[in-house]
């Protein structure tokens, strides 16, 4: 079809200049000439999160989508260079606070790798339990946001209500509801009481039961299926090419899970499966995450049943401390005596973790002399799958933007760090 237009000078809308929208002037002019329309979704938009997506639409179809992340950039990596190794633990869980245990475990494992610390078995089981709790919490959080993006308020409230159980479990075991900072190099901060483990075990049953109701009202809802089927499809090849990670990669048919590959913590001692989808559309991405919740419940139950007795902090760290037996149960009172002296040998130490939304990579560079890291590189899953997210937008309708956004569970604070 021959495109016809009047060659009159096009003035890009005035708002593009004061808002510092980082797209070239020619791009805007070109769009306006070719009967297309540029819509700025965000950052002040109920369905965008803390980011802007410059959406170029033709009619109702998205032709191009340019992300503009960085609105919640907090310079984690630079801040980390001025803090002790141990002080970085609370810092690095901030990007995605629902997922705090997984974020702790990634950073801590890089340090353990560098210092060659052996983690006691009980501590590994406790770590696994809290990592999986965090994963369930993240999946529930994203399911809630996803539902409200589709206009389903009940689907928003129920997962958030269920997440209260996980916050309560965190509170009983660690003293905080969300940002636990519970996992430290060489183990965990304190032993977890049997009554708390019993509470976690029971709340898994509640979550499993309530998820059935959620399935009825949201997952199997015909309107939801109509909205999500064949929307924002990423094929297997595309998903690999764009570097999509985590549940979203598995939804496209790639059975890659760092927990299986590396087998850190207690994952290789427990029985569980990696849920894999085929279609790679928004609905499959969501179903994979829902299935991961039930797998996490399975892991937690096994871990609580099989948890061994023993110390929760590595003897490599405790060293020749006089109050050995006390510190093996609870680090309280000896925290800085043990950890403030940590100094990594010279070199670069990397760890990969499967966080709630996918692969999380920490890379610590140490000069071997100072007690602060020389450089910490942190690559979050959100940042890794942003490209795939933008590519899957192309060709879908403008109304599907929120559906695809929710299916990826894109979380700007996590991606911006």
């Amino acid at each position: 079809m021959r495109e016809e237009y009047l060659d009159i000078p096009v003035e890009p809308p005035a708002e593009f200049q004061p808002l510092f929208v980082p797209i070239p002037r020619e791009y805007v002019e070109n769009a306006f000439r070719s009967d297309e329309f540029i819509v700025l979704v965000g950052p002040q938009h109920p369905g965008s999160g803390h980011m802007r997506i410059v959406v170029r639409i033709k009619g109702d179809i998205i032709v191009d989508a340019l992300p503009e992340p960085g609105y919640v950039h907090r310079s984690m990596e630079k801040l980390a260079e001025n803090r002790l190794y141990i002080q970085n633990i609370p810092l690095f869980e901030r990007p995605s606070i629902m997922d705090s245990s997984n974020y702790n475990v990634g950073y801590v494992r890089a340090i353990e790798d560098a210092l060659d610390i052996e983690v006691p078995e009980r501590a590994r089981y406790i770590r696994t339990i809290f990592c999986e709790l965090s994963r369930i919490g993240t999946h529930l959080y994203d399911a809630g946001i996803f539902s409200v993006f589709l206009g389903h308020t009940t689907g928003f409230m129920w997962p958030f209500g269920l997440r209260e159980l996980i916050c309560e479990a965190n509170l009983r075991a660690t003293g905080t509801r969300v940002t636990t900072s519970f996992i430290v190099p060489g183990g965990v901060r304190a032993d977890v009481d049997d009554s708390v483990l019993k509470f976690i075990y029971d709340s898994m049953g509640v979550i499993e039961k309530r998820m059935k109701g959620f399935e009825k009202i949201f997952i199997k809802n015909p309107a939801v299926i109509a909205r999500l089927k064949d929307v924002g499809v990423l094929t297997k090849e595309e998903a690999i090419r764009y570097g999509v990670v985590g549940p979203f990669l598995r939804a496209s048919g790639v059975a890659y899970d760092v927990r299986k590959v590396e087998g850190y913590d207690a994952y290789d001692e427990l029985e569980w499966e990696v849920p894999v989808g085929d279609d790679g559309d928004a609905y499959t991405r969501f179903l994979v995450r829902v299935e991961e919740i039930s797998q996490s419940i399975k892991i937690i139950r096994q871990a609580i049943k099989n948890i061994p007795r023993g110390p929760i902090l590595s003897d490599d760290l405790i060293g020749k401390l006089k109050e050995k037996d006390q510190v093996r149960k609870n680090i309280k009172g000896y925290f800085y005596r043990i950890f403030s002296r940590i100094r990594l040998p010279q070199g670069e130490f990397t760890s990969q973790t499967e966080a709630g939304r996918g692969l999380l990579l920490y890379s610590i560079v140490s000069d071997g002399e100072s007690n602060v890291p020389y450089r910490v590189r942190m690559v979050t899953p959100g940042w890794l799958y942003l490209k795939g997210f933008m590519e899957s937008l192309k060709g879908s309708r403008l109304a599907d933007l929120q559906a695809i956004y929710g299916s990826f569970g894109y979380f700007p604070p996590e991606a911006d760090r």
Binding site: G47, S147, L150, G151, T153, T154, A223, R227, L398
Partner: protein, 382 residues
């Protein structure tokens, strides 16, 4: 001579004025609401010189129908109720308490009133790009097509205008509301408002035709479009005679009042309330209640067409008020059913809603016309 002439003139003026007032009073008092409970009070008040005109006016049936129930006051009360009910119902389904801060002892039912007051005292921001006069006028003008249909809806003998063309007039007035919404979106002059306006226009074509055909089916079935006669003819309720028409009416009603799953034109997560994105303060309050007002009118129409209008078991001592109350209760129940949808459904996409409207709903509407034709040809109705 001149003096007496003027005084005579004055006298005739007074007499004429008196006769005019008396004529109007005659008109009022000849068609008054007969409510046995307050009859003694009315009788006393009718003997008081000036108050009697006022009482006659208020109890004059057309005035009562338009200004009180089912008209303006009923509309406002149902608005306050349904917004509270919707919030409370969805809250109960979602493991929450719902509004309780205002008037805790009666379940927070005054919350919508408090919200309305807050809207009233908020600043109305009119942005630079807006078409100022239209931007301010249209939310208020929107009340005209919303309120005028009340004139034609009979609650028993309480009605303002009785005409054989009542049904077409109501349908055409209701069809004018989306035009006002589109004008609102145009006057807002914003991208999201523009997208919302286009969506509203598409939805309008999606639901309006099945809706009109479904209403037409009922007119065919009853053989008249005089709503008063339609109510009289319903020995069996219309919903039992032609359930398909009722179904189409209900679904198109959800589409017309932008309830979920058809809240497409003002999808707040996608286009931030669409045509109403730029409004604030009381103007936003007006635009927000527009859909609820439309829902009330459609609920009244549904009650009249399918649920026997004002018919129902007689209430003792209420006389002419009985059909008014029954009609009102039926309309509010229909609104409650619509409010329930919000807790269960997400939003459809515009193309899916249009496909539904143009295929299934239009087909069902045609089927309902056939059913109506068969029933009316078979002489099943008196």
């Amino acid at each position: 001579m001149a003096v007496s002439g003027t005084s005579r003139q004055k006298q005739t003026d007074e007499v004429m004025e008196l006769t005019l007032v008396n004529t109007v009073f005659q008109i009022f008092s000849s068609n008054m609401m007969d409510i046995p409970v307050i009859k003694p009070l009315v009788d006393v008040l009718m003997t008081v010189p000036i108050v009697k005109y006022l009482v006659a006016l208020i109890l004059w049936k057309p005035f009562f129908a338009v200004i009180l129930v089912p008209g303006l006051t009923g509309l406002m009360l149902s608005l306050l109720f349904i917004i509270w009910f919707e919030r409370k119902l969805t809250a109960r389904i979602q493991w929450r308490m719902g509004p309780l801060e205002i008037s805790r002892s009666i379940g927070g039912i005054l919350q919508p009133l408090a919200d309305g007051m807050r809207y009233f005292f908020q600043e109305i921001i009119i942005h630079k790009e807006a078409h100022r006069p239209y931007f301010v006028q249209f939310p208020i003008l929107a009340f005209i097509p919303v309120l005028l249909p009340v004139l034609f809806i009979p609650a028993g003998t309480v009605y303002a205008i009785r005409t054989p063309y009542a049904l077409p007039v109501i349908v055409s007035l209701i069809s004018m509301i989306p035009v006002v919404i589109m004008a609102i979106g145009w006057a807002s002059n914003s991208r999201l408002a523009f997208i919302g306006t286009v969506r509203e226009a598409f939805m309008y074509f999606g639901y309006e035709i099945p809706f009109i055909i479904a209403v037409l089916a009922m007119a065919v079935l009853y053989g008249t479009s005089d709503l008063y006669l339609i109510v009289e003819k319903q020995r069996v309720w219309g919903i039992a005679l032609n359930p398909i028409s009722a179904l189409v009416f209900l679904i198109t009603m959800a589409m017309a009042t932008s309830r979920l799953p058809f809240e497409i034109a003002e999808a707040d997560q996608e286009i931030a309330f669409g045509p109403f994105v730029e409004y604030s303060g009381i103007l936003f309050g007006l635009t927000m209640t527009l859909a609820y007002e439309k829902m009330y009118i459609l609920g009244l129409l549904f009650s009249v067409l399918f649920l026997g209008g004002g018919s129902g078991p007689p209430l003792p001592f209420l006389g002419d008020l009985t059909p008014v109350i029954w009609l009102y209760i039926k309309a509010v129940i229909i609104m409650c059913i619509m409010a329930f949808l919000r807790a269960v459904y997400p939003r459809y996409r515009i193309d899916q809603a249009l496909r539904l409207g143009w295929t299934y709903l239009a087909g069902l509407a045609v089927v309902s016309v056939v059913i109506a034709g068969l029933i009316s040809a078979g002489g099943l109705l008196p």
